[in-house]
């Protein structure tokens, strides 16, 4: 009887510990991603508004969907992408971005994204060109262009250039969810 009771206690303890660890780690499983030097929190479905400039008017589109590829960079910006086209020499992705790592007064912290994965050729290794937008003062479209390629099996690195704002910097990019064929 005593032996039976001990087993019951052990089971309860194990169950309690499991529940507690689930509670403690729940958010990590749900939507955080570890990059070297920090943690990026994101919602896999997006759940943010993106200002879209069209014909001089801004409309806000709510992003809430399933994305096949989610990337983030060392600044904590998260790119939500889905594949739209595959050709012999490139694969095109479209989607949205939620910026965390820049400040330019009046600039939206979300935007639209188009990314090309340019496949390896004899002249160039596989590389990526990503164009993302930010609407400033609700009337001007700012463009950020990130060009990067694989540094090793986990990190991609490259440069970022802005237009019309004059800025360049180095950038590291990581896969949060999904991958490349």
């Amino acid at each position: 009887m005593k032996h039976f009771s001990n087993i019951g206690s052990i089971r309860r303890i194990a169950f309690g510990a499991l529940v507690l660890s689930l509670l403690l780690c729940g958010t990590v499983w749900a939507d955080t991603f570890q990059i070297p030097g920090g943690t990026v929190t994101y919602d896999p479905r997006g759940n943010f508004d993106v200002p879209i400039l069209s014909g001089g008017t801004v409309i806000n589109k709510h992003v809430d969907g399933v994305f096949s590829l989610i990337l983030c960079n060392g600044y904590g910006d998260v790119y939500y992408l889905y594949e739209v086209r595959e050709r012999i020499n490139y694969v095109a992705y479209k989607g949205y971005v939620k910026y965390r790592g820049f400040s330019l007064s009046g600039c939206s912290t979300t935007g639209e994204v188009v990314m090309l994965r340019i496949k390896a050729t004899s002249l160039m290794p596989e590389h990526f060109s990503l164009i993302s937008t930010s609407v400033r003062w609700n009337n001007t479209l700012y463009i950020l262009n990130d060009v990067f390629r694989w540094l090793n099996s986990t990190s991609m690195v490259g440069y970022e250039n802005w237009y019309p704002f004059d800025m360049s910097c180095s950038v590291a990019v990581y896969i949060v969810k999904g991958g490349f064929d």
Binding site: G16, A17, P36, G37, D49, R100, F102, L104, W162, M167
Partner: protein, 240 residues
């Protein structure tokens, strides 16, 4: 029969709950004292972010920004990984080095914009990629600066409900901050003095309309008109 088991259960639960807390409390100070090191190429490529994070922690804890950051050591690490980075792309090393040197200058100068921006949030506006770590950026407030209800025309921008102007203030330009300060100082009585002040501020804001400050102007006018209806009758909508 059940009591010893129940006691053991609660004791274990307490241990499971408190041990991580105790461990983290013990680890935190020693982590901070560790000098910043770059142990892999993965970390070298975000060296400026790692410096920014550490400097931010230091400033928030009242220590010098460069506490625990040995730039001689980091320079050596950069050089160590230089061949690997240049093999990847010679130009990339140059871009990374520039980004690193910018960050180094920010952290080494006690009067730098970087340090002032952390000590006094909103006092400095960085253009483009902010040197501040992500933790220091007010994400929701930035979002609110440009967000507006769907399908609303550009010129009719209004602050997003649920975001107080106090949250947005760090993002305003100096000009807008000054106007906001004037709005806050507006006399409540007599009503004529209040009205006169409103007209003065209105003219001041109207003068911005042809510049690139349209959004801020719209936000300020919104606040001012809100004030017209409330503050002069004694209600406060903005924290003084």
């Amino acid at each position: 029969m059940k009591k010893p088991g129940a006691r053991r259960f609660w004791a274990t639960l307490a241990i499971v709950c408190f041990v991580p807390v105790l461990l983290s409390a013990r680890e935190a100070p020693s982590d901070i004292r560790q000098p910043l090191t770059i142990s892999s190429v993965d970390r070298v490529v975000i060296i400026d972010r790692l410096i920014a994070d550490r400097a931010y922690e230091n400033i928030r804890a009242g220590r010098p920004a460069d506490h625990g950051i040995d730039f001689t050591l980091l320079d050596r690490e950069m050089e160590k990984y230089r061949p690997e980075l240049e093999k990847f792309d010679p130009a990339y090393y140059v871009a990374l080095r520039d980004t690193y040197e910018r960050m180094k200058a920010y952290v080494s100068d006690p009067d730098s914009d970087f340090i002032r921006a952390i000590q006094n949030p909103g006092s400095v506006e960085f253009e483009g990629r902010s040197p501040l770590p992500a933790a220091a950026l007010a994400d929701t407030a930035s979002q609110a600066m440009t967000a507006k209800p769907a399908n609303e025309e550009t010129d009719k921008v209004s602050p997003v409900p649920g975001h107080r102007i106090d949250e947005l203030e760090p993002l305003l330009s100096d000009k807008a901050k000054k106007t906001l300060s004037n709005i806050r100082k507006m006399p409540e009585t007599p009503a004529s003095a209040c009205e006169a002040k409103i007209r003065t501020i209105e003219k001041e804001i109207a003068a911005w309309e042809n510049s690139s400050d349209r959004l801020e102007a719209a936000v300020m006018l919104e606040i001012l008109y809100g004030m017209k209806e409330s503050k002069c009758s004694g209600e406060m909508k903005i924290n003084p």
